[in-house]
């Protein structure tokens, strides 16, 4: 369970940090906490996994990543852990999840693959297909971004 102070830290850190020399001192001040204590909590929340990472998330289309493929795979149940870990190890894969399959939708492994062009994306996906020997897959490119925001918790 999360402590009250951790909850308050989540509320503060889900907003953008100020771009100043001592951003954590600013946050500590908002929490009426000492900077050292805040840094200690943040480090432990990174270890426990409440905070996945601290830093920048880019608007990736603006840095030249134009092809964003959701690639869904139908992996035999007994191989899903091995294939999931294999795909997760690839730098071009940002997300890799096992999800429930449906009657008319057999895909159970979901990967997001990003590259400058569709052609480049497909080179990566082709390599994934060969390394895993999973041939049942679909590439679902996004054609329009309708919404992209960050969640705000405890508000």
């Amino acid at each position: 369970m999360m402590t009250e102070i951790e909850r308050r830290i989540v509320v503060e850190l889900q907003q953008d940090l100020p771009i100043t020399a001592k951003p954590y001192a600013f946050v500590a001040d908002n929490l009426s906490n000492s900077e050292n204590e805040l840094l200690r909590h943040v480090r432990s929340m990174l270890v426990s996994g409440v905070i996945r990472k601290i830093g920048a998330v880019l608007r990736h289309r603006r840095v030249g990543i134009n092809a964003n493929a959701l690639c869904v795979w139908h992996v035999p149940e007994e191989r899903i852990a091995a294939v999931g870990e294999m795909f997760a190890a690839l730098p071009v894969v940002t997300h890799c999840y096992e999800r429930e399959a449906h009657a008319d939708w057999p895909y159970n492994l979901y990967t997001m693959v990003h590259a400058a062009t569709r052609k480049e994306c497909e080179v990566h996906i082709d390599a994934m297909c060969r390394m895993s020997n999973v041939n049942a897959f679909q590439i679902l490119y996004s054609t329009q971004e309708l919404k992209k925001t960050s969640m705000r918790y405890f508000e």
């Binding site: 020399a21 954590y24 999931g84 890799c96 992209k148």
Partner: protein, 161 residues
């Protein structure tokens, strides 16, 4: 795709953007740490980061929170939507704060979104409202069974000039 003009990035821009993604320290002066690593000064790094932020290259500069770890529930949902109703359905789907990502994709399931809520009941309510929206022909919730990776980082090429 829109013909949006994107800023060109120089070598220092790319190094700074990489450092912000991979090496943002939990320390008193994280920009000083980055400056040291890049053989630069804290002021030069801060000035550059402010510029990159103002140009809209940085979507977030803070913590990425794991929704499951803070006790929230989340789901990926695929919808089959009648083409003529796409905009109206998008408006309903996007109206929920818990819907953080929504994309049109090629294929029979043409709208894909993620929804996050404090508990299962609130999440089910969101899905019920969407299911009842005119134009929505099928709703396929795809809850995660296992997370192998979430790492939204994009390494930018440096040293190739």
């Amino acid at each position: 795709m829109g013909a949006e003009a994107f800023p060109t990035l120089d070598e220092f821009d790319r190094k700074v953007l990489n450092a912000l993604q991979y090496d943002f320290a939990v320390s008193e002066q994280p920009y000083l740490d980055i400056a040291t690593k890049l053989n630069s000064t804290e002021d030069a790094v801060l000035t550059r980061v402010r510029g990159l932020y103002a140009k809209g290259l940085i979507r977030r500069l803070g913590a990425s929170i794991d929704s499951r770890q803070v006790g929230y529930v989340c789901v990926l949902v695929a919808l089959k939507v009648d083409e003529e109703f796409l905009l109206k359905v998008a408006k309903v789907v996007n109206s929920f704060t818990g819907v953080t990502h929504n994309y049109l994709r090629e294929g029979d399931y043409n709208m894909w979104f993620t929804a996050i809520a404090p508990d299962k009941e609130s999440l089910d309510n969101i899905l019920a409202i969407i299911q009842a929206t005119p134009g929505v022909e099928a709703v396929m919730p795809l809850p995660a069974k296992r997370v192998f990776k979430v790492s939204v980082k994009f390494p930018l090429a440096v040293g190739c000039e």
